[in-house]
Symmetry: C2
Subunit: 232 residues, 2 copies
DNA sequence: AAACATTTGTCCGTATGTATA
DNA sequence: ATATACATACGGACAAATGTT
């Protein structure tokens, strides 16, 4: 019997990595809720591993700001408030603007084509109201630029902040939405700027591409809050 | 015999924390050299602790980009090259510009006075050629702005990048220097902008306050490299 | 190519410290 | 306030995986 050569990558995935990804997902999607106490022993049992890899994963999650560890006392999921939009988005906007600046110095024609293709599919997804697909494609757009920028610090920070954005949306909007309003045009404008090697324009548009959704979300949450108070 | 009540704080510093700070210092100051292989067992022995806290510290250091872990194989100090100035400074400039923007919305008169005082002492130190003091005061200046910005993400990222800057200087300049040229005036200009709540100016100057030293260092290293080749 | 040696990744037991009754 | 329970922090040992002779 021929063994299927279809085993894509027999990458021995470590227990630490599995624990990290699973806990991270639980936190971002709200399964582990903000402020909730975490018992490493309990998590270890559920994940079917010992406490050591769980604890190592928690170290990383603390560094990323997803959990807070009070030494000897307890470790809990980092709380999150509505006002935190204003803490998450501005650094992300600044970093992604820097990323697109640096990408402008290195992009290939191939990259440009790839970006256009992604933006086309992004537009399609939005047209079909396939919002989850749109979200994925939006992230892919930024990811491609990140790769072109070729800067590990930018990659690390931006990836972390994007995950915080995702958690914020899950917690307060109960789903991971994309703010479609002008995104397609902005993406196109960024691509054009990149093709022209116009760093300043690319950076400026990219910044707005983050700050506008921030304001939209903040306003929306503000309205909801007002309604709650008005209704109560 | 009365026990001295002078024991400032009996803060039980954890083994993990001690290990983290010590290894971090060894890496930034070049005791552990770029690319050097790290044996957690060896470090544990030297630090007088077990492997567990050392490994937990290494998780954090990997997240911060100071070590690279190849699963199952080895963990080594992240290599660093001259060109990496261009990878470290731009994100730092962007983040610190964002920090000063957000600080502008919150600074108190007290903060402003504190900043002026720090800048005075910074100028004095530079005048006395007390470069180490100057470096400390420079970091204090940025730290004060960071606290005013009150944003954990900015704090975390900027602190990490500042440490990378420090390592870079130790490795390639063999000491932690400050680029004095126009720093005093720039700091003063930033403070003035903060006092006026002028976000745009503050951010612009702050960005230059990082990018100018970057270019100075890059040029200096370029010259040294040219001389090496010329001499050889 | 196979067995070895080294090093990492993981497990589990224990003690210290914190919060609760 | 004392005692109790519990979670965390650390240590030591084992096993899996990698590179080497």
């Amino acid at each position: 019997m021929p063994i299927p050569e279809n085993v894509p990558k027999m990458e021995r995935i470590s227990a630490k990595q599995r624990a990290l990804e699973q806990i991270q997902r639980w936190i971002t999607e709200g399964t582990l809720r903000p402020g909730e106490k975490i018992l490493d022993g309990e998590l270890a049992e559920v994940l079917g591993v010992s406490r050591t890899p769980v604890r190592e994963a928690l170290q990383i999650l603390e560094m990323q700001g997803f959990v807070e560890m009070q030494p000897g006392c307890a470790t809990r999921v980092t709380p999150i408030r509505r006002e935190d939009v204003y803490k998450i988005y501005p650094p992300l906007a600044a970093l992604d603007a820097t990323a697109v600046e640096m990408a402008a110095e290195r992009v290939t024609e191939e990259d440009i084509r790839s970006l256009r293709r992604i933006n086309e599919r992004f537009a399609e997804a939005l047209g079909n109201k396939a919002f989850y697909d749109a979200l994925v494609l939006d992230e892919q757009f930024h990811q491609t630029i990140l790769e072109a920028a070729d800067n590990p610090y930018l990659t690390s920070f931006i990836t972390t902040l994007q995950r915080h954005v995702r958690r914020f949306k899950y917690v307060f909007l109960r789903k991971a939405v994309v703010s479609p309003s002008r995104s397609i045009q902005e993406h196109a404008a960024i691509i054009d700027a990149l093709a022209r090697r116009d760093k300043e324009s690319a950076a400026r548009i990219m910044k707005q591409n983050w700050l506008r959704p921030m304001r939209e979300i903040a306003d929306r949450l503000q309205r909801e809050e007002d309604e709650e108070k008005g209704g109560a």
